[in-house]
């Protein structure tokens, strides 16, 4: 089995708006392996989110190649990408992005609606995911009834409920207090270590990056190189 989860070759992303051209990513060559917990660091505007979006096929590449979990993303249609993402990628946002009119378990069940699972199985999976993030007692709470930390944990449960191989997180602790941030990071680390999920996390917080096993630095769209994380 191929051990490489993400591989890019001279990956480039250029934004064109009116007469302005912004090169957000320039000749990025990166290889991320199964079971790694990678932190993408760099100053604001360095292209971290852009890289994450390309990995999740949420945006289109303007140059080079990107292969994720063996798929050449440039070759997939819109529909195929949607399916692929549902099956293989869990995405965690800085703003949580829960659906306000749905309660915790309904939010978590949502990605399973695209699968062929039966209603009871969907509920079971969603409950298991919520129990895993420590919210087994908050199943029917609506997002507005939860704290920020709890919301983010619901969002993490939603990201893992389809049992994806890859978890992507864009500044997952950016809106959290220190204690909640640590809880979320501990969770990601557990998912990585216990469940073997490959995690790619964008952050500009060195403390957060310490939970990762590998740290990449980006600056002005260029990949500077890698360091092994210092922590445990």
């Amino acid at each position: 089995m191929d051990d490489i989860v993400i591989q890019t070759r001279d990956l480039q992303k250029e934004f064109v708006r009116d007469e302005f051209h912004v090169i957000a990513l320039k000749d990025v060559n990166i290889e991320i392996h199964r079971g790694e917990f990678v932190a993408l660091m760099g100053p604001s505007g360095s292209g971290k989110s852009t890289l994450l979006h390309l990995i999740a096929a949420m945006d289109t590449v303007t140059g080079g190649e990107i292969t994720v979990l063996g798929e050449n993303l440039r070759k997939l249609s819109d529909r195929q990408i949607a399916h692929w993402r549902n099956e293989h990628v869990g995405f965690i946002f800085q703003q949580f992005n829960l659906i306000p009119v749905l309660n915790a378990i309904e939010n978590v069940e949502l990605p399973l609606k695209i699968t062929n699972l039966k209603k009871q199985d969907r509920i079971d999976h969603a409950r298991t995911a919520l129990e895993l993030v420590g919210l087994g007692d908050r199943l029917t709470h609506y997002p507005r009834q939860l704290s920020g930390g709890q919301e983010q944990r619901v969002a993490i449960a939603r990201a893992i409920v389809t049992d994806p191989a890859l978890i992507l997180a864009d500044e997952p602790t950016g809106n959290l207090d220190a204690a909640s941030a640590d809880e979320a990071l501990t969770l990601l680390s557990r998912l990585n270590k216990e469940f073997g999920k490959t995690v790619v996390m964008v952050t500009h917080d060195p403390h957060a990056a310490r939970f990762a096993s590998k740290i990449y630095h980006l600056e002005k769209g260029e990949l500077l190189g890698q360091e092994a994380a210092a922590a445990d």
Binding site: R79, A82, F93, P111
Partner: protein, 388 residues
Amino acid sequence: MAIPITYNLRNLIVRKTTSIMAALGIALTVAVLLAVMSLVHGLDTSLKATGNPLHVLVLRKGANSELVSGVSREQFQDIKFKPGIARDKAGEPFASLEIVTVINLTSVDAPDGVNVTLRGLNPIGVELRDELKLVNGRWFQPGKREVVVGASIAKRFPGARMGEKIHFGRGDWDVVGVMQAGQSAVNSEIFGDLNQVSSDFNRSEALSSALLRTTDAVSADALVKALQDDQRLNVSSQLETEYYSKQTTAALPIQFLGGLVAVIMAVGSSFAAMNTMYAAVARRSREIGTLRVLGFSRGSILLSFFAESVLLAGVGGLLGCLLVLPLNGLTTGIGNFATFSETSFNLTVSPSIMASGIAFAMLLGAVGGFFPARSAAKREILVALRAV
């Protein structure tokens, strides 16, 4: 497979004020439409119930209503012995020579008076209409100034009830009975003795029409043809059912006007629905982006917002049905241009009329929801997510 409908339902509830406004607009549109439809349906039912498929109505050639028709006693002598006409116990042909004219009756809600059909006929005419029943009093007697009024007349005109006198022709007439014939237009007519009525109006020779009872459907058709082809008689003939169903055109002006109002309101309320849905799409942009990231396709986003609009409109349609339901069974009258008199009938808000109202509402929702739903589906994920 799709975004759950509860998602849409709860969003509609969350923004209840705008939802209610949009639904109300659609409800009113549907109410107008349904009111017109139940009016037409009621009139239609009444007119359809009037004719008997075994009856053949004979008019002067070229006349399209009994009121402008003329049939003489001499013509009638020829008509009544045509083959195919049923006979009563005494062996007399079931053929009724009749005079039809219009008189004016006043009531509380119509002080200027309303035109009502007056029909003069012999007892045979009463006998051959087997739907016709006395509900009160007795039949008029030949040679007397007596009338029997239709049940709707008795209901709508207090001055024309049992025991009252009504004035027309050359004097007062006693109301001696009240008659009813199902839902038929006869309920809006007044019957009197043929000779008495025709002499009051100086038309002893110039009568209006002949109504013939045939033995079966085949002889009815044959009789129609035979009368039609008789050059010497110079009359036109048709099945009584045909004659009345043609008069549904009386509702045309209302149908047209109501239809016009409904169309204008439909355009307005579907724009209102569109507006509401555009606002919803804008407000939920980040949710749209999120749903796409979770793996929902553009198609399911389109379907979801489309369904939400149809759902909203469907609720409006249901509300519209509730608004018109009190009209069900209400009796009203309509000026009939063929007879120049009033035909009363019941408004009928039937289940099928309500179903078509809800379907129409959903159509409005579909039209109003399509473009907002498409714009939601077209959004790029990152653009959608970036919105606040």
